[in-house]
Symmetry: C2
Subunit: 493 residues, 2 copies
């Protein structure tokens, strides 16, 4: 027997992906592992998609941790298998189907999902499909490169399918820390007092009886490549680092800062990467996703510990990462998203939250999800979990979009994901605006002066000044008849 | 010596309100007690206002717990003393000055304020003015009918002024529970595991050296009267009670429910009041404000414990309340707003949050603050603290405004305070819409069918159906060129 399956009574459950896929039936609610394309099941979803492509009527509700790779979201969306989708996605086929109105997608705070599963708000979870690197003697499931909602899905599902992925090294065992709070009124404090605190098990406890199929797979995580760090990202990174230094000088931040959270993508990666050249030492990360830059920060000795729920290393960096895994092992902790994104822990630790926006407005409201207010990009993800509860909340966007033809700072965002009440600091490659304690009018002036591209400054200042003249009230002056007036804007893409 | 001042070294600090007021100087940051007009200082603010009215140049930043009465917000606003105001207000003069653009007001989540004070985000706190019923042997300040930010303001201020209010009975001593978490990275779990848990002291610890003036006052709290419960409020209350009963049946809620939070005002009061005629038993309240209806619920034996940061009993009910105080004493706990509104505690306890909206839109976004998007009403208050972190989040509004001429359900709210990601259930006197797990399009249909007044159903359905045709994308269909098109809407009021 493969030492990846250490529970002898489960040997008989090893089946083909096709056979396992038959456990999923039309109308079911299916939960899957996977967070920001890492650690998602691949072989079984492909086999499910194939059934539908062969003409079988098959529609499911799909709940994951966050975004997953093309073998899951892409294949199932193209095969028309997904009727409802929670809580986050980044796959092109999935996004297209959502924007075509074919898939009912609900875009949720990631920290809300595990408790919604446990409260029963999604109904019964029929099947959980979880990628793993091993199964312990007692049936415990050792996750691969992410945890997400896997522990909660396994706990609540009637049936569990495990995909043992041999492309994911067994050496990952030990970096996970699985813990789940009870539901109210029995919930106790979550005992994470520092980013490095371990409070649970290294595997997802599971009654072996529930595991109805085990499938082998060797399909690799389709993580995204990281684009080279461009000049604009470097500028943003420098603005933030200088700002944090000033916070230390003002006595508002400890010398070693507070735990850092950074969103996903190339800009977020670049911002963290910029810390390599800073004077900061002994930094901690308390985030949802660890990208390449965190490895750089560990390499250069800047980071003592990095906690998240997903490890999404670029394809270019992956071999090197696993070859030198011993260097990183003790510095990385993966937690369920119920803990990584938990408001209790985020507020207690005093996280510095840095997330990207599609656009923000002159009063500090942020659109993170819908281009032009109607085209769903990805979703809010964990940005709201961190932004609302962080010690310091920073939103980042480049000042223009569409090759400089559109301003990313606007009079009124076309979709609000983070309200003025939740946004402390906004940054573009033009500059940084500290909004803390400012009234709306003071925010408008500061944002226009510091963050807007020169091509659009005049236009925005004109809107603001005209609103001061036209608005019936002067706390948050607006001339709302103008903000969405251009029909073409809503139709553009 | 009056037994209200039990610290002998403080006897010499008793001065007139006029003398105490001189401690406040032009340009200072002044913190004051008071939350949802209860427990705010009165005599000293009136004396400060008088100085300005006599021609003295005097401008301050004013930070309170939440809204305060006319002797503070009203008098100071009319005298032109307030330059900046945080974090919430309901006073007519204050509101008028804010909407006239004369006072820079920042509308904040109430749970954020105490930590902002402690982080230094507001700068140095020069003076704290705190209403009290007594001072202990060691200088500890026993608050009156609210705590709000008083403990944090006293801790951070250079100078403390205490207003001993003899209209507030000494018997209030003992109902307070003062506790404040450390700043990150030293913050520990807050040990409130049940609404009745007491974790701190019954007074605000204070070095007697810091108390520079003690003033006697007998001016009563100017709490608001409670209007009789009308038929529409009764309908809303019944919709919510029936909904909660169904949640119990579905196994999603314990028989005795989970701790209840209810916003401020007549509708909120009516909703809680409706529970008197329900079958529920042994209810708990974990809220920010306790109004008359909580006394009714204690009277009828429905509520075991009620925790909040303010006790705002209507003038009509106040004498009876104090006469029968022994009946209520053991069932009421007042906490700092840092604890009553803390996301950690709210999520742990699994609070059922019920807050009122000005308007909500067909996709479930809520406007709580700005009429027509530009006229500041009060502020977000604690609604965001509770809505984001509650077990169940309910928003309530009557389906029409302006004598039935305007729909409170609109295509796109003119100001967003609570996003679609934060709103589980919306209710009007027309009906209730359970939005949990729905996609935006499903939300639109459910809201229009259940919550909209018959006079406006057709219009909203037409907007929605037209958007389905016109929108370039169909996840959250919108025709944004139409939503704010009417110029008069922005100018109306």
């Amino acid at each position: 027997m493969d030492k990846r399956i250490r529970c002898s009574e489960l040997e008989s459950k090893i089946v083909s992906a096709e056979e396992a896929a038959l456990l999923v039936k039309d109308g079911m609610v299916v939960g899957a592992s996977g967070f920001t394309p890492a650690g998602y099941p691949k072989a079984v979803p492909l086999a499910i998609a194939e059934r539908a492509e062969n003409g079988e009527k098959l529609g499911i509700t799909l709940i994951t941790g966050a975004s997953v790779g093309d073998e899951l979201d892409g294949a199932l969306a193209r095969a028309g298998v997904v009727r409802k989708r929670y809580p986050y996605q980044t796959n092109k086929s999935m996004r297209d189907s959502i924007n075509a109105g074919e898939i009912a997608y609900a875009d949720m705070h990631l920290s809300h999902v595990p408790q919604w599963i446990k409260y029963g708000y999604f109904g019964n979870i029929d099947v959980a499909i979880v990628e793993a690197v091993a199964i312990t003697e007692d049936g415990g499931i050792v996750p691969s490169t992410s945890i997400g909602n896997s522990n909660v899905l396994v706990d609540m599902a009637d049936v569990v399918i495990v995909e043992i992925n041999t492309s994911q090294p067994e050496s990952l065992e030990g970096i996970h820390d699985i813990y789940s709070p009870a539901n109210p009124p029995h919930r106790k404090p979550i005992p994470v007092l520092n980013p490095e605190d371990r409070i649970g098990t290294t595997y997802i406890p599971c009654d072996p009886e529930k595991i109805k199929a085990i499938v082998y797979s060797d399909i690799t995580d389709k993580t995204r490549g990281v684009t080279p760090i461009d000049e604009d990202s470097k500028k943003v990174s420098k603005f933030i680092i200088d700002f944090l230094k000033d916070e230390i000088k003002a006595g508002r931040m400890p010398e070693k800062l507070l735990p850092l959270q950074s969103g996903v993508g190339s800009v977020a990666n670049a911002i963290l990467g910029g810390l390599c050249e800073s004077d900061f030492e002994n930094l901690n990360i308390y985030s949802e996703v660890l990208q390449d830059s965190v490895l750089d920060l560990i390499d250069c000795g800047k980071v003592d510990v990095a906690s998240a729920t997903s490890l999404t290393i670029s394809p270019e960096r992956l071999d090197d990462f696993y070859e030198n895994f011993d260097k990183y092992r003790d510095k990385i902790i993966l937690r369920p998203q119920e803990i990584s994104n938990n408001p209790e822990v985020i507020r207690r630790l005093g996280v510095i939250a840095m997330n990207t926006a599609i656009e923000f407005d002159i009063y500090g409201n942020v659109n993170s999800t819908n281009v032009n207010g109607v085209r769903m990009m990805n979703g809010i993800g964990g940005s709201g979990d961190f932004a609302r509860n962080a010690y310091l909340t920073i939103f980042i966007t480049m000042s223009t979009a569409k090759n400089g033809t559109l301003s990313s700072v606007v009079p009124f965002v076309k979709h609000v994901d983070h309200t003025e009440h939740d946004v402390h600091v906004v940054v573009t490659e033009q500059g940084i605006a500290d909004l803390r304690g400012l009234s709306p009018k003071e925010k408008a002036i500061t944002i226009i002066e510091n963050c807007v591209h020169p091509d659009f400054k005049e236009e925005l200042m004109e809107y603001y000044e005209n609103s001061l003249k036209e608005s019936s009230h002067l706390h948050t002056p607006h001339d709302l008849s103008k903000v969405f007036a251009k029909k073409e804007a809503a139709k553009a893409d």
